[in-house]
């Protein structure tokens, strides 16, 4: 087993990985950019290394600096988390060249699955259905035009190294193609350090359903069932659940087996995700392989009881998978809501800044994977994800109720967040019925606007807080002497001063 792992990430996922390492007795090396000097993830590390200035390209995308830090601290492995360099073959290659184990598939496999065209050809061979599209990534507008014509509009432009909706654009006609390509390229470069993009037929009204797979270096492969990820805004998942409300057992088995075929055909190892689109006729298409641990991995952990990060590390260390397909069961229901620093009531403008008050929920069935703390300044340089709320319950109805109640008790003051927005989605009749596809957000845009129903109450609370804040400053001069025998009561008890 590894002795030391460098965790090449920040925020909640760096903490998640650190936990798994500690439970395996592995020392954790954390890295940070200048602005992340006081970030929460560093508190979970045995050693920390500064790797560059705040912009991602200088730090978390800086392969040289990260490899240098790993060598300096004598790490035997690097866990890349998600985003940043997680699926970057150059990074995996740099690890390999320096004798450091990359916790993920090797650089050849990364290359194969990143090359969506090669990947498609591989998948085709094992008879898994694919979406029609371009046969290579390129920058030539004319080739894009031609490919779009062949598959027919609307089409989807995607970042080759992409994920999380970054660099993705739907294009409805040739006129918009050039502009969308430019934007996609810029976003792809800034998000993944690589501006390759490609084009694919756009499937309308689809469900986005993905399967979690584990495969070891010895050829053992299992899937851990699906995640329904159709609640997306601008191709960015924001709510995921498992089991999917639209799969039946037959389809579930078919898609699970297809996932394993894809993974095996790519000679993929460690943890990976096979993404599918499911159309309204319940026909599924292979979309892509996500060669990393995913943001939404916890819902799979909740219903299978398998620690995916632990498995990922065990496999990277060369161990044989001890799990067998027949032992993996779906137990209960899980929903993840992603808490973002953004303002849903104002076109989702990012909202970095200081967290003035924080109270995270806790209790039965509640898991919070968080990267924040009260008084911390959320920096503007990175992804707006603050934390993930993962709820488990015996069944979907209960899970929805529990998620709703829990979101009400997730308090972040100081910056704008999407908590209220998430609550409105979860409570919407379509979501409750399990009747939604990837267009849910667009179709419900109006209904998801804040109602400000409690504005009067807010105004009353605001006024009272001012009034009482005034009284509060007077508390030092006011002795409470009635309950003499309990001194702490004197400190804590005070009443609203009369006018």
């Amino acid at each position: 087993m590894f002795k030391k792992i460098l965790i090449a990430n920040r925020g909640e996922i760096a903490i998640r990985v650190a936990r798994a390492c500690k439970e395996l007795g592995i020392c954790t090396i954390g890295i940070y950019s200048t602005i992340d000097k006081k970030s929460l993830h560093l508190r979970f590390m045995d050693e920390i290394e500064w790797i560059g200035d705040s912009p991602p390209l200088s730090s978390y995308l800086n392969i040289d600096a990260i490899i240098k830090a790993a060598k300096q601290t004598k790490c035997d492995a690097i866990h890349p988390g998600y985003g940043f360099l997680a699926e970057n073959e150059l990074f995996a290659k740099a690890c390999e060249d320096n004798g450091i184990t990359f916790v993920g598939p090797n650089s050849n496999t990364l290359n194969l699955v990143a090359d969506k065209v090669a990947s498609r050809n591989t998948v085709k061979k094992v008879s898994v259905p694919i979406i029609p599209g371009m046969e290579m990534t390129c920058t030539d507008l004319n080739k894009f035009k031609q490919a779009a014509k062949e598959v027919g509009y609307p089409v989807m432009i995607k970042a080759s190294m992409g994920g999380g909706g970054k660099g993705m654009r739907v294009v409805h006609n040739e006129k918009d193609l050039g502009k969308s390509i430019a934007i996609s390229q810029r976003e792809a470069l800034s998000s993944f350090g690589d501006d390759s993009i490609y084009l694919e037929k756009y499937i309308e009204q689809p469900h986005h359903i993905e399967f979690q797979v584990l495969r070891d270096n010895h050829g053992n492969c299992i899937h851990l069932f699906e995640r329904e990820c159709s609640i997306q805004r601008r191709h960015q998942k924001i709510i995921e659940e498992t089991p999917s409300p639209v799969l039946n057992d037959k389809l579930r088995i078919e898609m699970g087996e297809a996932s394993k075929k894809v993974i095996e055909a790519s000679n993929y190892t460690t943890a990976g995700t096979v993404e599918f689109l499911l159309d309204k006729n319940k026909k599924f298409y292979f979309l892509e392989v996500n060669a990393r641990i995913q943001v939404e991995h916890p819902i799979t952990e909740m219903i299978t009881g398998i620690d995916l990060v632990r498995q990922q590390i065990l496999i990277a260390a060369g161990e044989k998978l001890s799990l067998r397909q027949e032992h993996i069961k779906q137990n209960g229901h899980a929903i993840e809501t992603r808490i973002y620093a953004e303002d849903p009531d104002n076109n989702f403008v990012p909202s970095p800044g200081k967290i003035l008050y924080l109270s995270e929920p806790q209790g039965p069935g509640i898991r919070v994977d968080s990267g924040i703390y009260q008084d911390w300044n959320v920096p503007p340089h990175y992804d707006p994800i603050l934390s993930k709320l993962i709820i488990w319950a015996e069944n979907r109805d209960l899970c929805i109720k529990r998620t709703t109640e829990t979101l009400k008790n997730y308090i972040i003051l100081g910056i704008k967040t999407n908590i209220g927005y998430l609550k409105r989605i979860i409570k919407s009749p379509s979501f409750c019925r399990g009747n939604y596809d990837t267009h849910f957000i667009d179709e419900h845009e109006e209904k998801l606007l804040p109602k400000q129903e409690k504005l009067d109450i807010a105004l009353i609370a605001g006024a009272l807080s001012k009034q009482v804040g005034f009284a509060k400053s007077a508390i030092n001069f006011q002795k409470v002497s009635t309950i003499k025998s309990t001194p702490w009561q004197e400190i804590g008890k005070w009443e609203i001063c009369g006018q």
Partner: protein, 161 residues
């Protein structure tokens, strides 16, 4: 006691009157509420309004009162009766960044004639690019900030003549 708050560009007036254990509240000279059982504990304010209990998390700083009610946040701003310059600018003569971030692109130059709605600047924050459109037809008077530089929230990037 009278309080004024700004919420979504509107001013709201709250009148608080204390009588024994009750507060009588009048909002905007219309809506009346009887408030009882007011308790405050660090960041929680709780009270009973018309027989319903509210537990509201609250943080007040100089200019703003941040509140969380049943998962929905409200930010009440101190009413500054004179209209802010920013508000003016937003409507007419300039484009500013709604949040701090990286100025990715300014696709116009001083002297350019621009149409309403055309992109005057692209700002990136938290990995999302935001295109800032021109508020009206006009001519570019001044550009503050260079591509690749950080910009503040509310920093004016492009001014129109």
């Amino acid at each position: 006691m009278e309080y004024k708050f700004n919420f979504l560009e509107q001013v709201h007036k709250i009148n608080l009157e204390k009588t024994d254990d009750l507060f009588k509240v009048i909002i905007n000279d219309k809506q009346e509420y009887n408030i009882s059982d007011v308790e405050v504990e660090s960041n929680l304010i709780s009270f009973k309004a018309e027989d319903k209990i509210y537990n509201i998390y609250c943080y007040s700083d100089k200019d703003k009162t941040h509140l969380s009610i049943d998962g929905e946040n409200y930010i009440l701003e101190k009413d500054k009766t004179s209209k802010t310059k920013t508000g003016e600018q937003q409507k007419g003569n300039s484009v500013f960044s709604p949040m701090p971030g990286l100025l990715v692109k300014v696709p116009v130059s001083v002297g350019d004639e621009v149409k309403s709605g055309i992109t005057l600047a692209i700002v990136e924050a938290m990995k999302m690019q935001n295109e800032l459109p021109s508020p009206r037809d006009g001519i570019v008077k001044k550009i503050n900030g260079k591509e690749g530089e950080q910009v503040d929230a509310l920093q004016v990037i492009v001014e129109l003549e």
